[in-house]
Amino acid sequence: MIIKKQYDVVVIGAGPGGLAAAIEAKKGGADDVLVIERDVELGGILLQCIHNGFGLQTFKEDLPGPEYAQRYINEAKSLGISFLMDTMVMDVTSQRKLYLSSRDFGYVEVDAHAIVLAMGCRERTRAQVRLPGYRPNGVFTAGTAQRWVNVEGYMPGEKFVILGSGDIGMIMARRLTFEGAHVERVLEIQSYLSGLSRNYVQCLEDWGIPLQLNHTIKKIIGKNRVEAIESVAVDEKWNFIPGTEEIIPCDTLLLSVGLIPENELSKKAGVALDPVTGGPFVDEHFQTNVPGIFAAGNVVHVYDLVDWVSLAGVEAGRSAAEFALAEKERSARYIPLVPGKNVRYIVPHKLDKKALEKGDISLQMRVTKPIEEDVWLEVHGEKNSIVRRSERYVRPGEMVTIVLKPRMAAEVEKAGRLTVDIYPKSEA
């Protein structure tokens, strides 16, 4: 693979949102689409969601997560989209420049006409729910346990308590039961289930795993390894109700206490975030406040269904392609002005080819070194000379100006870039 300097659409993240966006961008006419993924394979978190229930809307089939991902992976690969794996995006600017660190390619810079943010979300951890007690081994987020059990082949414990009735927690309760572990209890501080009812039925009720609403953890017991948790009932203001404490012996505590959109990169690009969702403010095309930067999926707000994430990806991808094509056309009208012999810089840095039809354009520049004899100031394209005038001398302290006239428009149009050289007539 050769990494280009400029892409039409760059998608950050190869989960369901990112894959759908990349596919749709490509179908929408974007030629160069690049997907950047920090993992070593495509698919995102779906790869560890081995349970079925995905794709009922999209495919009218009841699929497990990896299979749902596989269909998008296969389509994306068949369309000639480029993938950069094992690569972190370290920075993104509002000018749509990306700075990457890649295992295979090292440090890389790429420019994009449009960007789709598809970084997904991450789990709330113990620190974010303030659980009192020691900090023993054996406290994990449900998603971490899911990765170990379903992908890497490790069991995190034998006797579990799960805090939070989020979908991942309930699904892990069943999964751990299938693998021979014992799930003692699911505790939920709210008075209602936070995940889907169907998961309560298939994952807890089916296996006789008790769910206690209005309950939370008062204390984690155990110094080196979790030995038990002390649960407690709460009132409607989440205050502990004295006398309701119960010690539940267990060796592992899983947390399924919510997901937060992952927007560290978005902030760097100047994307404004909604404090309620934790994701970017977007319009109906999922464009953020930064023109040309779109966002799709759980990075915007946390969805219950992957099918909706894919739909969001489709809209963001289509819009990103549209933006990129317009941007490409606009930037193709511009030609860069390049400092040549003895020129330090030129202002403006680029010019719109069509602008000459409307009137004169003056190029202002400074020389690198003084030349105390007759000089030529020459503007030329790759092959054609456009204008040449003389000066008695040039000095860095004194700005030099060359004027492009409307009659030069045809020659300028032919050039891909304009170079200015300043040199002694004696060398001509």
Partner: protein
């Protein structure tokens, strides 16, 4: 007449179903929003079925485990028997998504198939 209450799991809507029974016969189903719910309610009242997803060991794959699932639903009471079978085997990489891993598992008529491609290490 007996009434059974279920939450339909056939889609994420999670409709509340009421199934009226006369002995072993379903006489009326209420609360479903679609046909699938009716089928689910009937089945749940008489002989509950579930799809099962788990993992099998895979030799030489890029991961040590291959996710698999039952292509259709199987009787709920047979789930642990199916899990036993799944746990007992190991398959060699590479595998393609939807490859059959165990055909007609424990005589249910349902195949256990791969949930993803698993390339060789």
């Amino acid at each position: 007449m007996e009434e059974k209450n279920f939450i339909c799991t056939a889609c994420p809507m999670g409709c509340k179903l009421i199934v009226r029974m006369e002995g072993d016969e379903v006489v009326k189903i209420l609360g479903h929003r679609c046909r699938k719910g009716e089928t689910y309610g009937r089945q749940e009242a008489i002989a509950p079925q579930r799809m099962v997803a788990s993992t099998v060991r895979i030799a030489n794959g890029i991961h040590p485990l291959l996710p698999v699932y039952t292509k259709g639903s199987i009787p709920k009471r047979k789930i642990f028997e199916v899990l036993e079978k799944i746990r007992a085997i190991e398959v060699p990489a590479p595998v393609k998504a939807e490859d059959v891993i165990i055909a007609n598992v424990i005589g249910t008529g349902v195949d256990v198939i791969a949930s993803r491609d698993m390339p060789e290490k």
